[in-house]
């Protein structure tokens, strides 16, 4: 792995990224574990998960007390969470924090992971893409393999908890155990269901309809179902490596390493190299804006090594950037959460010019850091960015360019957006809000069962 400055001054990393890995949790809030002896090229050591009290400086004592009051009637109640991977990806990252926090509140959460062969996970990957709207021909063989692995897992697992939460489509058929289980069954769907492939959705729907309720991440993902559908926004952990407060010296060090000049405005997009994130559009918008305002562009991402399409997109981005010394393209490995955090904090403006998006947690991260944010009005982004109040929504390259110019030349307005954005995240998109939602759901489910 190497970090090289190219002839045109761009900093590039020649090892492509891996799929997302969970951020190692931090031990104490507002404390920088300055990676003085490590560089971004080596993974950081794991640090212990935070406790509920660690969130008090962020959300206040009253909010922590409210969580305790909410949990009081639930003491000893149990929840089982089932998903398809123990590490890697947003769901595992979220459960990694949620399960111990529920435990601290004396709600016992068990986390179980389904197993399967490559044939199973190839099919579930295809299902995932198809539910996002991709073309897919569902064969009888795929149906059989999918159901056989689910049956194998079902026979291995026990479902004695008060609430059983099945995450995403991979383990959805486990619902067939419901008849032998005392609990309330919930299907938590983390993916964009706004235009699902009808073959795959019609295959899955009979399973989903057997649940007591479903949870989706955006209003537009709700389906016509005979069960209650709740809205749980995805969330970020303010104490994770990617979001915790950083010492400015570390932010400076990261900028120095990557050749970023902090004395000039910095416009940043953090995203894997994926056409749906429109990195080429960001380069075009930047070039349009820079005709009027001085600035640099940082495109920080990963995913170009394990994904042939990612490598192709990275190539396209480099071509679009040309020999512009003010465009810094960083293909970072997945353990660079601290560096991503530093890049976001160093930014004057953060952009997320997605063409399609599930929720857009990079937007949440930027808002949490108080950054004026410009983002595509797609997927769950309008839930986070209320136009002109918590950020700016755009629909085109030209719109993005204009908003970059506007925010760079109206710093007071930009700062107000940043303040509002941070409060929006504090109220609606933090891990502690997620804990609150799960406690509420358990209370409401148990009340419904009693009545």
């Amino acid at each position: 792995m190497s970090l090289a400055k190219t002839q045109n001054g761009k900093v590039e990393h020649d090892e492509v990224g891996l799929p997302n890995q969970p951020s190692p949790p931090s031990s104490t809030p507002h404390q920088v574990q300055a990676p003085s002896v490590r560089t971004w090229e080596t993974p950081p050591p794991l640090v212990p998960a935070p406790h509920l009290e660690d969130y008090q400086p962020i959300i206040g004592a009253a909010e922590i007390d409210e969580l305790r009051f909410l949990a009081r009637e639930l003491k000893g109640k149990t929840i089982k969470m089932v998903n398809s991977t123990a590490v890697g990806g947003g769901v595992a990252e979220m459960l990694d924090r949620l399960v111990p926090l529920l435990g601290e509140l004396e709600v016992v959460a068990h986390w179980d992971v389904i197993t399967g062969g490559n044939d199973f996970f190839e099919i579930t990957k295809a299902f995932h893409n198809a539910l996002h709207g991709a073309e897919y021909q569902l064969t009888d063989a795929a149906r059989r393999i999918f159901l056989a692995y689910n049956e194998q897992n079902r026979q291995r697992m026990q479902f004695t908890e008060d609430m059983v939460v099945i995450h995403d489509p991979q383990p959805a058929p486990l619902i067939t155990s419901r008849k032998d289980s005392p609990g309330h069954w919930i299907w938590r769907c983390h993916i964009d269901l706004s235009s699902p492939n009808p073959q795959v959705w019609d295959f899955l729907r009979p399973f989903i309809e057997q649940y007591d309720a479903a949870i989706v991440s955006s209003q537009s993902f709700a389906q016509k179902l005979p069960i209650t559908q709740y809205l749980f926004y995805p969330c970020i952990d303010p104490l994770s490596e990617k979001n915790k407060e950083l010492d400015d010296a570390f932010v400076q060090k990261v900028c120095d390493e990557f050749g970023i000049d902090r004395s000039r405005p910095i416009v940043t997009q953090v995203s894997r190299f994926d056409r749906l994130k429109d990195p080429v559009g960001v380069v075009q918008a930047f070039k349009l804006a820079r005709r009027y305002v001085d600035c640099q562009l940082v495109l920080a991402g990963g995913g170009a090594s394990d994904d042939p399409e990612g490598a192709l997109v990275l190539k396209e981005v480099k071509e679009a950037a040309g020999d512009d010394p003010d465009i810094i393209i960083l293909d970072l490995p997945p353990w660079c959460a601290l560096e991503i955090n530093a890049l976001q904090r160093a930014s004057t403006i953060v952009v997320q010019k997605s063409i399609k998006e599930g929720f857009g947690l990079t937007v949440t991260e930027a808002l949490w850091k108080g950054k004026p944010t410009i983002a595509g009005a797609v997927g769950g982004i309008p839930n986070q960015i209320i136009h002109k109040l918590t950020g700016m929504l755009v629909h085109s390259v030209e719109g993005c360019a204009y908003q970059i110019r506007y925010l760079l030349t109206h710093p007071a307005f930009a700062a107000q957006l940043g303040r509002n954005g941070r409060e929006h995240v504090r109220e609606n998109f933090l891990m502690t809000t997620d804990v609150r939602r799960w406690l509420l759901l358990l209370r409401i489910s148990l009340q419904n069962q009693r009545s």
Binding site: E66, F69, Q219, A222, P382, N420, E427, L440, I444
Partner: protein, 221 residues
């Protein structure tokens, strides 16, 4: 000198509430569909998009004060209708039925004047949501005005919303829990009236809290 509550008065128990969002079956892609859904949706949905949204966006002073107005402006490009919907002050209503009727009348009148506006496809649909609400106690109880001021400073903004904004639906009065306690149990009618005059639309909920605390502290002098 400090003011104490009369020895016989009831203490004020600070409660709070938490809510879980549900997505309902109603969805509108045009203003005509919106009007139909507005008439047909549950009271919970009216509550969610008018009262509850004030809590979810309590940190914002600017912009539209309810979700209906925001959608009409941002997705339907109907600024005049948006302004009319935004001008509805939830504090003037002590029942959700009356509030629903008011919103529906405004949209109906707009569509009578401009029927074509009813068929334009909105940029984004409006999804009617509702909430399941759980009310909880807190540790804070006020037996004196000093304790009341302390409680006001310490409770979460959710508690402020619960007592100061949501309460009027519970009480079926255009008042709130704080004013009612100050007036009926402490005898501070003037302070209660000052609280009733606080503008919840031009201040954040933290700003509202600060104004309530200032009014109570003035009564302590």
């Amino acid at each position: 000198m400090t003011t104490t509550t009369p020895s016989t008065c009831k203490p004020f128990y600070f409660n709070t509430s938490s809510h879980l969002l549900r997505i309902t079956a109603q969805k509108a892609t045009t203003l005509a569909e919106f009007l139909d859904a507005l008439r047909a949706c549950s009271d919970d949905s009216i509550f969610q998009h008018s009262f509850r949204t004030l809590q979810e966006h309590h940190f914002i002073r600017e912009g539209f004060s309810n979700d209906f107005a925001h959608w009409v402006f941002a997705s339907c490009n109907e600024p005049s209708l948006a302004e009319q919907l935004a001008s509805v002050d939830v504090r003037e209503f002590s029942s959700l039925g009356e509030l629903r009727d008011r919103f529906a009348q405004i949209v109906e009148r707009h569509l009578q004047l401009d029927p074509r506006a009813g068929t334009h496809i909105a940029g984004e649909p409006f999804y009617f949501c509702a909430s399941d609400i759980v009310v909880m106690p807190t540790n804070l109880v006020a037996g004196t005005l000093q304790e009341f001021a302390k409680g006001l400073r310490e409770v979460s903004v959710h508690s402020i919303h619960h007592h100061f904004i949501e309460a009027r639906l519970r009480l079926k009065l255009t008042s709130n829990d704080f004013s009612l306690w100050l007036q009926e149990d402490v005898g501070l009618t003037g302070t209660a009236r000052q609280l009733d005059r606080i503008d919840i639309y031009t201040a954040t909920l933290e700003g509202v809290r600060a104004q309530i605390v200032r009014a109570v502290e003035r009564a302590l002098i």
